[in-house]
Symmetry: C2
Subunit: 277 residues, 2 copies
């Protein structure tokens, strides 16, 4: 799914995948920037827990985000698909200026949220200027093609990744999270090799990509974002490999970007090759 | 990837996944309809063999298509990514009114074609009114989320399907081919359960979906198309299942459509629930 169509006179909100974190308090740079952006409206942020409900998550976010300038922080949970279609929840959520989607397993998040009224609402709210962040499973969900699972390790392998349709808030990037902490280069390369038309980004913990309406990404946080651009890929052995085989890939471009760096994919159907600060 | 943006004053061409066939001559209904559509322009059809080159394929298509009214039928092959970026090929292909993409293994097709200049050209030509058909791997490639591989059998299973990004000529459907001949209901259900926002279609051999610019699909051919609409899915156990486990899915809608029947997904972000003749 590509992003929801433009809304006249509205500037699309930021899409903000976060690479996960052990402690929410370590994520101050990311949360501060999110609060600054939401402060351009009324600074209200919703924490949307999908397929989980942990009140301590909300409390941690409430204290952190309020220190960073949020005017209001409330928690909501969606444990099953029925809850994702309730009018009361839809009305509540539509009053916020930013949403953080939390959830561990990407497939738990996508199977609970996919195709529900709340999923459609979030897509429309983003087109209407609301900033949508997601951490771990919520980060994976942001993209059109979502990394749902895969093997650890640096080498791409046939069948080394499970892709699933995501929420499609961005179709410029395939996103992976907890990236260097869990040694995920191989599975991101595998995902890109299936169809080398999109840029891959691997987000370290406590690090987020702030993706603007034109696709430009800014790195915020204490770790790095690994960018892999397959736009000039000359050869891939993926099509002829057997399950589990290591894959040859010739001609990838690699950037490691840290706090404040930006990356801009070319706009258009195939979004590759960027400006690199 | 979603379809290439609209071109002013152009009506988008049909997208025509074909479910495969043992003999091209058994596909007369499909080829006749394709020739009728291309005849609205000058009736010129290109056979684009991706990751394969078999002169007998071209000869079979030439004799069949010319009997059906095509004015000109030529074969082209793209064996590697470099060939997909050659100016001469791009210029040649751009002169046709219809293209049939052939290729067996979907991942061979997507890794050879994905992100190349010819892939971008085909997307733009379709937006500009050229009809794009594909058989087997070329049929899978039509969709945004492509079924690249999977297990045979009727039961959906965790990890029972490999998805990869396709060419994105349609984002209304996830497409499977050789459907009832190779017992593929389970893998199509698995693909839909990952994120139940899109309609699944399983194409029998010698059967094609003629997908119009508004998403409406017409069934042409001697077999059937199995349509699975997960728009009202109440529950899926996919998120919590282990690899290989059978998956529970409650509330799917199923249609079996034969020659002349139509299916229309609702336009909008989540394309489900159709008119059913």
């Amino acid at each position: 799914m590509c992003p929801s169509p433009d809304i006249e006179d509205s500037k699309r909100g930021y899409v903000i995948p976060i690479g996960g974190a052990d402690k929410y308090t370590d994520n101050q740079q990311v949360l501060t920037r999110l609060c600054e952006l939401c402060g351009d409206r009324e600074g209200r942020i919703a924490i949307l827990m999908v397929a989980e409900h942990q009140s301590e998550i909300v409390e941690l976010y409430q204290s952190s985000l309020k220190r960073c300038g949020a005017t209001r922080v409330d928690g909501f949970s969606i444990v099953n698909r029925e809850e994702g279609n309730q009018d009361e929840l839809l009305e509540s959520i539509s009053a916020y200026d930013g949403i953080i989607i939390t959830g561990g397993n990407p497939l738990m998040v996508s199977t609970t949220l996919g195709g529900t009224a709340i999923a459609k609402l979030i897509r429309r709210m983003n087109a209407d200027g609301v900033h949508i962040a997601g951490t771990v499973g919520g980060a994976a969900l942001m993209s059109e093609h979502m990394i749902a699972a895969g093997e650890a390790g640096a080498i791409p392998r046939q069948n080394g990744v499970t892709l699933a349709p995501g929420l499609g808030l961005t179709n410029n990037y395939i996103i992976d999270h907890n990236f260097r902490q869990r040694d995920r280069l191989g599975r991101l390369l595998t995902a890109l090799s299936y169809n080398p038309f999109v840029t891959g980004i691997g987000l370290d913990e406590n690090t987020a990509a702030f993706i603007a309406d034109d696709g430009e990404m800014e790195v915020i946080g204490s770790g790095a974002i690994t960018v892999i651009d397959p736009g000039n890929l000359q050869y891939s052995s993926m099509g002829s490999a057997c399950s589990g085989d290591p894959i040859s890939l010739y001609g990838l471009q690699l950037h490691i970007l840290t706090h404040g760096a930006r990356y801009h994919p070319i706009t258009g159907a195939a979004l590759n090759v960027g400006r690199y600060m």
